[in-house]
């Protein structure tokens, strides 16, 4: 059924911090096709966020081995901004504050870069308001400095506003659900679901099964010690919720991995 090319193909990825010996990603592999939603779960320190940042091009990691192809291109050779313009989006676990820079100014630039066209300020303002509204954020946010003084939940919602605005081909959501109350979780999930389409894929990184009640994944992967150790469908997430990660761990031990 998958005769078309993968949207994202990660092969045998080995990643560490430049001045450390230990690897964080240890031969990780992952293939995502357009239209799919993948959930990536795993205990703290298993390398989930590192994967997200490496995909987006964070300069702080050393990639010693492996290959990542995105939409047919060699992703690892691209600058972070080139990746974004090519349609990769990362919703940050800890979004950065940019004092003195308004959301409208920042996102207008981002929008122009992503779609390679000029847009007048007034015109962009209208576009931005639609996306803010979709995530139930007040129009006044447009004039506020990026993430400054936002609550944890507002920051996360604002990440999804950006995703909605920039219409990526692949959106990586790094623990977007953590720190959200149930109402916010629903708003964020609705935002994601509204964007599901045959052209677009999602990689939802999470600790908890909770968000997967709202965003139904096609695939669930369990990550441990820098690689994916188990993959399945949405049922896998429910089993994890019930039995915990120790269950996967013990299975691995039994299997002699």
């Amino acid at each position: 059924m998958n005769e078309k090319k993968p949207l994202l193909e990660v092969r045998n990825l080995w990643v560490k911090l430049p001045d450390e010996e230990a690897f964080i990603l240890r031969g990780l592999g992952l293939t995502i096709y357009a239209g799919e939603v993948h959930a990536l779960m795993g205990p703290n320190g298993s390398g989930k966020s590192t994967l997200a940042k490496v995909l987006a091009g964070h300069p702080g990691y050393e990639i010693t081995e492996g290959e990542v192809r995105f939409n047919g291109e060699n992703l690892l050779e691209m600058e972070p901004d080139e990746r974004a313009r090519a349609g990769l989006f990362l919703a940050f676990q800890y979004p950065m504050e940019v004092p003195g820079v308004t959301i409208a100014n920042f996102l207008r630039l981002a929008y122009q870069r992503r779609f390679q066209k000029e847009v007048k300020y007034t015109e962009f303002y209208k576009i931005l308001l639609q996306h803010l509204k979709r995530l139930e954020m007040d129009a006044s946010f447009a004039a506020r400095p990026v993430n400054e003084g936002f609550s944890g939940g507002e920051k996360k919602r604002f990440e999804i506003v950006q995703m909605s605005l920039l219409e990526p081909l692949l959106a990586v959501l790094d623990e977007t659900d953590s720190g959200l109350d149930i109402d916010a979780l629903k708003i964020v999930s609705n935002g994601v679901n509204a964007m599901r389409s045959p052209e677009r894929a999602f990689l939802v990184i999470t600790h908890y099964q909770r968000i997967l009640n709202y965003i139904t994944p096609d695939f669930v992967h369990v990550m441990m010690e820098g690689r994916i150790v188990r993959s399945g469908d949405a049922q896998l997430a429910l089993m994890l919720e019930e039995k915990g990660y120790d269950w996967v761990r013990s299975e691995l031990v039994e299997a002699g991995v």
């Binding site: 964070h58 950065m96 940019v98 820079v101 996102l107 870069r113 992503r114």
Partner: protein, 469 residues
């Protein structure tokens, strides 16, 4: 903002400001300074005896004073290589048509006439030593506002000038104030009668054209009771390999209940020494605001100051400095609380890039009897890369008990995480840096009239272009 063509700053400065006219001045004193040169300047201007004596006395003080040994390196500044007086033309225009063609072209290129039409109450333009154009909109003239060059003021308003000239910054204040007092030429004289609010800014534009030229303008602003004026100055010069000197003196008197705002966007070329003394006195319930943007020049030493003389007086100093490769911006502010119930705030924001160095140097003094004084000092430094430097010299002297003094200093580096965040949204690295810097100076930019905020941002953008290797 980022749609402009990407240009290297140096190249762009040359294109936009760096041109020079091959104009032959009608008179110049030649290189170097002597008693005869000082006399010659006074003679050329046809000055009264008191001004000539003032100059000569100041010249003696200049000789006697040692070079400042604190602060930036001035060892390469050679007083013998400077031309102290260059008179570009015999004419002074009240309409642009009267300005000599060559000079008019310069200011046309800099956009001055256009700015005047759009949003200024009056404009003065100084070219080397002389002011070549001065105009004040009629509505303000009718209300008794005076806005002329200082040479004209000496002739036409001798009593007013004599009453205040050199009283706020006497020649013996410092070596460069003495130098200015000896060889000053041009600058603006502003007088705002009681109760008059000049609602749109007056602007002066300073341009050094000749090689090795010194520009020593002298500005005097008197705001009578309950009046308001906003004075703005901009500065540029062509790029020569040899140094030029800009050493101005600005004196401001803010009478009870008046408010004066003085804004500078300084963009001298990098071979200019910019050594300026600016001081204001504020009386009962008066407000003095300095907004000081230093983007250009090789070395700047400038600490706008406010003396709070009577209860209720308030001083605000807002300083932004950008120190790029090879630049040393030594800036800050000085507030003297000389009366009780006075308040002040100094906000300094500096950005250092490459081999640039930005220093904050500030003095807050609370004199005996100035109880219930309030002062807040905030210094923010942003370092754009590893080798860039910043330092802070905050001096605070308090001789009174019941005072509230706050001091905060922060140094931040542009973090990799912040850059990554912006880049991950599709912004190129230098766009991301520029955005962070413009956000950093935003508290200052929003204090400026729109047009100047745009200009300041544009200058910073130019500084940032090509900054990512």
């Amino acid at each position: 903002m980022a749609q402009q063509e990407i240009l290297r700053l140096d190249e762009d400065y040359v294109r936009k400001y760096g041109f020079y006219d091959t104009l032959k001045p009608v008179f110049e004193t030649g290189k170097g300074l002597s008693r005869r040169v000082v006399e010659e300047i006074s003679y050329q201007k046809g000055e009264p005896k008191w001004m000539r004596d003032f100059r000569l006395q100041a010249y003696e003080i200049f000789l006697a004073k040692p070079m400042p040994t604190w602060g930036p390196d001035l060892s390469k500044l050679n007083f013998d290589e400077i031309v102290y007086y260059i008179k570009p033309t015999d004419r002074r225009g009240r309409s642009w048509d009267e300005v000599p063609e060559d000079i008019k072209r310069t200011f046309d290129r800099l956009g001055i006439p256009e700015w005047e039409r759009k949003f200024l109450a009056g404009v003065g333009a100084q070219y080397d030593s002389e002011v070549i154009y001065h105009n004040l909109a009629r509505q303000w003239e009718e209300k008794g506002v005076i806005f002329v060059d200082t040479d004209t003021a000496v002739r036409e308003y001798p009593d007013l000038v004599r009453e205040y000239f050199g009283t706020i910054i006497p020649p013996h204040d410092n070596k460069f104030a003495a130098l200015n007092s000896a060889v000053w030429s041009g600058g603006s004289f502003v007088y705002v009668p009681a109760g008059v609010h000049v609602e749109i800014p007056l602007q002066a534009y300073f341009r050094i054209n000749a090689k090795n030229a010194g520009q020593f303008e002298r500005t005097l602003i008197i705001a009578e009771e309950g009046s308001f004026v906003h004075y703005v100055e901009g500065c540029t010069a062509p790029v020569y390999a040899e140094s030029a000197l800009h050493s101005a003196v600005v004196e401001i008197i803010v009478k009870p209940g008046a408010r004066v705002r003085y804004t500078t966007i300084q963009n001298w070329s990098k071979d200019v020494y910019n050594l300026v003394t600016k001081r204001a006195v504020a009386y009962r319930d008066a407000v003095m605001e300095w907004v000081d943007g230093n983007i250009g020049s090789g070395v700047t030493m400038k600490y706008p100051s406010v003396f709070l003389m009577e209860p209720g007086a308030r001083g605000e100093i807002l300083s932004v400095a950008f120190a790029g490769d090879g630049q040393h911006q030594d800036t800050g502010g000085k507030v003297i609380h000389a009366a009780p119930f006075t308040s002040s705030r100094i906000t300094s924001k500096s950005i250092s890039k490459g081999t640039g160095r930005a220093s904050y140097r500030g003095l807050v003094q609370v004199l005996e009897g100035a109880h219930h004084s309030k002062c807040n000092v905030e210094c923010d430094a942003l370092l754009l890369d590893e080798q860039a430097k910043t330092d802070t010299y905050p001096y605070i002297e308090i001789n009174e008990k019941e005072v509230t003094i706050g001091h905060e200093a922060r140094v931040s580096k542009v973090s990799e995480e912040q850059l990554f965040y912006l880049q991950s949204r599709g912004l190129k690295k230098d766009e991301a840096l520029t955005l962070i810097v413009s956000g950093f100076i935003e508290p200052l930019a929003k204090q400026l009239p729109m047009e100047y905020a745009v200009e300041l941002n544009r200058l910073i953008e130019l500084e940032m272009e090509g900054s990512v290797g």
